[in-house]
Structure formats: C-alpha cells, structure tokens
C-alpha cells in the first residue's frame, strides 16, 4: 500500500517537473496551419525542443503580442505586422544582419481556385473576364496579405472595378477557400498552401497568378523580446531556414526565402 502511494507521489512529482518547464510557443500565421505541424514534429525529434503553435490571422496575433501574450516567436504572413512589433520595441530580429527588419522565411503564392464541378471553364486569367463569374472570394485586403495581393493583381489586370461588386470578402485566406469549396462563390483568389491541402486539391483546380501582377507576399519572423527562451528561438529559426526545411516548404506551396 505504502509502496503504491510512493510510486504515485513520485509519478506526480515527475509530472510536476514536466509541467514546470515552460513550453516554447510559436504564434503562426493562419496560412502556416497546413505547413508547420510536421516541421514542428521533426524539429522536436532533431533538437529535443517541444513547440506549441497557435494559428491565427497575423493581425490578431500582433494584437495579442502587443498585449503580452506569452509567445516566444512570431511567424507572420507578411513583413508589416512583425515590423510593427519591432518598432514598438516588443520584438527583434537579433542574430540576423539587420536586427530591425523581420527575418524573411518564405514567400507566398497567389492562385485562382475553383471547384472541379464548377460550370466555368478551368481557372485562368480569362476566367476573371467571364460574365458567368458572379462571386469571387478574396481575403480581407485591409489586413490579409493575400487579400492585398488579390486586389493588386485584379487592379493590374484592370479587372478590379468591373469585379468590385462581385467580390466577397472573407476574414482570412482559408475562409475565402471555404466560400468557394462550399459552392457559394464561383472562384477565389487564395494561397497556394490552401490549394495544395488534400481537401482542396481533391475538390478543385488552381491557376497560379503570374508573380509580376502583385507585390511579393513576403513572410517574416521575429523573436518576441520578452521571451525567456531566446536560445530555442534561434535554434528553431536556423532549422526553419535550413535548405532541407525550405525545400519542404516549397512542396507545401511556399517559395523559399533564399
């Protein structure tokens, strides 16, 4: 009986020690949702550091970090939000050549996506001039980087004014994809990372919007300055920027940073 109690106590004590170690926390942009989890598993295997990731819109994560959310590293979907944190003295890019500029870790690709069972011909630039295109889903251009890219591409194609009244704005890029996948919008300008997820790859087809039509969707990382795990943050960034992981990013729809 006493032995059992002792074992139980020891068990509880070791559990306690396990809990006391604060986890390494990453705030990650929503478009990394389908990309990052396997990389985190590999990282833990390679370096023995357990990472917990939270996926949300970059704007929401920025507001959370400004208000003291306990994140150690921020992987944004753009350069603007992490830059804002650097300027506010809340984050830094220590260790990189220019510590006041977020570390670019990847570039995003904008695609035009539609369901395979759509009445419209397969996605192409011409689709944007098709009168049968009644609803085009985009992410919110005021804050979602892919939304900004979508508006820039439509403007450069001189289709923005014509399509303006037919745009439906989604909260983020995955909701834009949802609008199309559920059959409520005819097509959407979404991220390649979304289009390559098994679900959307099965139900739809995409067309890569030529890169000269929109400013590059550069995605930046910063270390949250109040972190107590700076060493782990550097280890993760080194790992994330290694050529092996960057090649893996490419398969998921992100262009390597270098």
């Amino acid at each position: 009986m006493r032995k059992k109690t002792l074992t139980l106590l020891l068990g509880l004590a070791s559990l306690q020690i396990g809990l006391a170690q604060t986890p390494f926390r990453i705030a990650a942009a929503a478009d990394l949702g389908p990309v990052l989890p396997p990389i985190l598993v590999q990282f833990e295997k390679a370096k023995g550091i357990h990472v917990e990731a939270t996926y949300q819109a970059s704007a929401a994560l920025t507001a959370q970090i400004q208000n003291g959310a306990p994140f150690d590293l921020f992987l944004s979907a753009d350069m603007g939000y992490p830059k804002r944190l650097i300027d506010a003295g809340l984050a830094d890019a220590a260790g990189s050549p220019d510590s006041s500029t977020p570390i670019m870790y990847a570039k995003g690709t904008l695609v035009l996506w539609a369901r395979k069972d759509s009445k419209l011909p397969p996605p192409s630039i011409e689709m944007l001039s098709d009168p049968a295109l009644q609803r085009l889903a985009i992410a919110n251009p005021e804050r979602a980087p892919y939304g900004r890219a979508a508006v820039a591409a439509l403007t450069n194609l001189q289709r923005y004014d014509a399509l303006k009244s037919r745009l439906v704005t989604a909260e983020n890029i995955s909701q834009a994809a949802q609008f199309v996948d559920s059959g409520n919008a005819d097509a959407g300008l979404i991220s390649l990372t979304s289009a390559l997820t098994p679900r959307l790859a099965g139900s739809g087809r995409y067309f890569v919007i030529p890169r000269n039509l929109y400013p590059p969707i550069e995605q930046g990382a910063v270390i949250v300055s109040r972190t107590t795990q700076r060493e782990a943050a550097h280890q993760f960034l080194d790992y994330f920027l290694s050529s092996a992981v960057q090649a893996q990013l490419e398969k998921s729809g992100l262009t390597p940073a270098r």
Partner: protein
Amino acid sequence: MDWQAFALTLKLATVTTVILLMIAVPLGALLVLGRSRWLALLEALAALPLVLPPTVLGFFLLVLLGMRTAVGRGIAGLLGHPLAFSFEGLVVGSVIYSLPFAVQPIVAGFAAVDSSLVDAARLLGAGWARLVFSLLIPLARRSLLAAAVLGFLHTVGEFGIVLMLGGDIPGATRTLSIVLYNQVENFDYAAANRTAAVLLGLSVAALAAIYVGGRPRGGRRA
C-alpha cells in the same frame, strides 16, 4: 462612423424580430396548449441554436445554403440568387440563431397564464386562434415584449453567423458588429471605440424606451 452599416443593422434586427414573433407566438402556443409528447422534442429543437457556437452555425448554414445542396439550389431558384452573401441570407441565419431568445420567454409567459382561464375559455368554445389572441397574448404581453427585445438585441449584436455567411458586402451584409471587428483588427481602436459607443448607446436607449412603455404606473408590482 459607418451609418450605412448602422442602418443595415437596424433593418436586419427589425425584419428578424418581426419574423421571429410570427414564428415564436404560434410555436409557443403549440408548446403550451398542445398535449402530444412529441412536443418536448420540438421544444428541444427550438432551443438547439443555443448549443452551437455562432461561427459553427454560420458554417453549417453556408454549406446547407450553398449551391451544392438541393436546398441551396432550390432557394437560389426562387430568389434568383444564392442566399449566402445576401441580406436575405443574414435574415435566415439571424432568425435561426435568435429563435430560442424569442421562444423561451413566450413559452414561459404563456405557461404562466392561469390554466383555469384556459380551461374556461375552452369550455365556452374558444378555438386556438381565439385562445391565443384574446387570452394568452394579452395576459402574457410582457413576455412578448421581452421576446421582441431579446430577439432584436441579439440580432444587433450577432457576429459569428454574419462573419461566416455574409462576405462583408457594404450595404448588404456589412453590419455594425463586422465594422467594429474590422476596426479592431485594423488597430483602429479610436474608430472601434466610437462604433462600440454608438452600439451601446443605441441598445440602452432602445431598452429604456421599451421598459418605460411596458412599466405599469405605480411600479411593476402594483
């Protein structure tokens, strides 16, 4: 201040409240006056929207009303356009979402009417319509008022469904709560404060006006 969104929000809440009362009064009467055991199931179904998070409810509606379902195609055929991303779509979503807030007070109000009065009216040959309009509604008018107020305010403050089903189209689906959310997300806290102040001021004024009107002279317990 986005007055277009303000007007749209009031319009949505008004239309929704009218439809809610048209559904909740007969439903409440059926639940209180009816004798079938199956009514318990109906009552449970009417309370169900409380269980689902609004965004989830909005997602289900988005899928259900989409062009990939027979329901969605049928509605689109009737209206000439899909229900999602339209004002009508928001009305459908709001009615479902706010239904429990209208049904619960009405059921409680109708049930509180003295059953001997109902029996007496029945003995004197009153039909359902007579029972509802001449007896239950006049005696439970405060509950009806509460149902209307709750349904209205719940629709004004609705967010998750509009976010999922609306598509943020100015004049059609961009309500005040979406404007407020956009302002917060864009770090425009000053504008967000103004929008929130209008929303709160409006609600307090509307509530106070209704409660003054519904308050018997000499206090509630006179």
